[in-house]
Symmetry: C2
Subunit: 194 residues, 2 copies
């Protein structure tokens, strides 16, 4: 994350928008709110961005790409399913912790994307979830995990992961890597339940 001074004006607009979208929701944030927070007139925003939704699109799809790349690295390794799951969880949390604001918007505001962006977004998300699901199914098959309902397991996993931007305080005592390790430990232990 570059400092505010080094960001292009467009980046500054998008980052400030992300804050407002996270705090008040996309629909409840007006372009006048955004302009006001930046100290300019609403009309001036349009020299930097094409539309309100373009901002949401940038935020959602840039995060999606980071998550995808993180999981891909894990899948290509020759390790146990337990380790794949652990690294997958750690990777997801590391990506989120690098931009908690954009992560919260990615999670909670993507439904305001219009078509065909919404459709593309949901397809990417279901693909990402299914790849985690396959790791869990592999783990069950090989006896690493108990015979738990996979849908429940993967939904519990994603609930825990995705809610994090709403409560995690990076300035607090626990750092992102430790958080990832602890969360992975808890969830993996839970998956061993018979």
């Amino acid at each position: 994350m570059p400092s505010v001074e080094k960001m292009s004006r467009k980046e500054q607009v998008i980052r400030k928008a992300a804050e407002l979208f996270r705090d008040h929701g996309y629909a409840a944030t007006s372009m006048r709110d955004l302009a006001n927070a930046l100290g300019i007139e609403a009309a001036s925003l349009y020299s930097h961005i094409k539309s309100k939704e373009e901002i949401l699109q940038s935020l959602c799809f840039e995060m999606a790409e980071l998550f995808r790349a993180s999981l891909e690295k894990v899948e290509n390794q020759d390790i146990s399913y337990t380790e794949k799951l652990r690294l997958g969880i750690r990777g997801h949390i590391e990506v989120m912790s690098k931009d908690l604001i954009a992560s919260a918007v990615f999670m909670n505001e993507h439904r305001h994307l219009s078509q065909p962006y919404l459709r593309d977004f949901l397809l990417m998300r279901i693909n990402y979830i299914n790849r985690f699901k396959k790791i869990i199914e592999g783990g069950i098959k090989h006896g690493e995990f108990g015979g738990i309902d996979t849908k429940l397991a993967v939904m519990t996993l994603f609930s825990s992961l995705n809610w994090m931007p709403n409560w995690y305080d990076p300035s607090g005592i626990i750092n992102p890597t430790d958080l990832g390790d602890q969360l992975a430990g808890m969830l993996i232990e839970g998956l061993k339940t018979k």
Copy 2:
């Protein structure tokens, strides 16, 4: 949940609003959208309800009361911390499953409450969470759970619980009680991690 025919017109308005709030968000749902879904004019809504926000207030505070009552029953029992936590989780899920739509609104749209309602709501929520936290801390103290970070544990718990209305299909194979048992099993097992 009474059938649509038996609901008062006011109840019908609130329930339809809950659906729209869940699907599109509170801010992105207009009173004209709601009127349209009910087959009446927007102005006619105001013979049944005082304002748009009054609907949100009903939904949020009625659910809050159900959650509070459910937890209170568990706290008064003379059982282990593990069992208290298990019953607390089951209770929470049972309350949600009786009205998944209102639960989703409770979870995702409460931030659109105005003051002083928002403040009251957040105080109730932090109180509810703290009571679960105390059960977990009791369990750690008595050696029932491992020495996990309690904030992480309780946030993971609530993430899993509260995201459920966004994916659980009650017409599917798993019923709410079994879901509660499985989820409680996973999470409790996770808490035993050293």
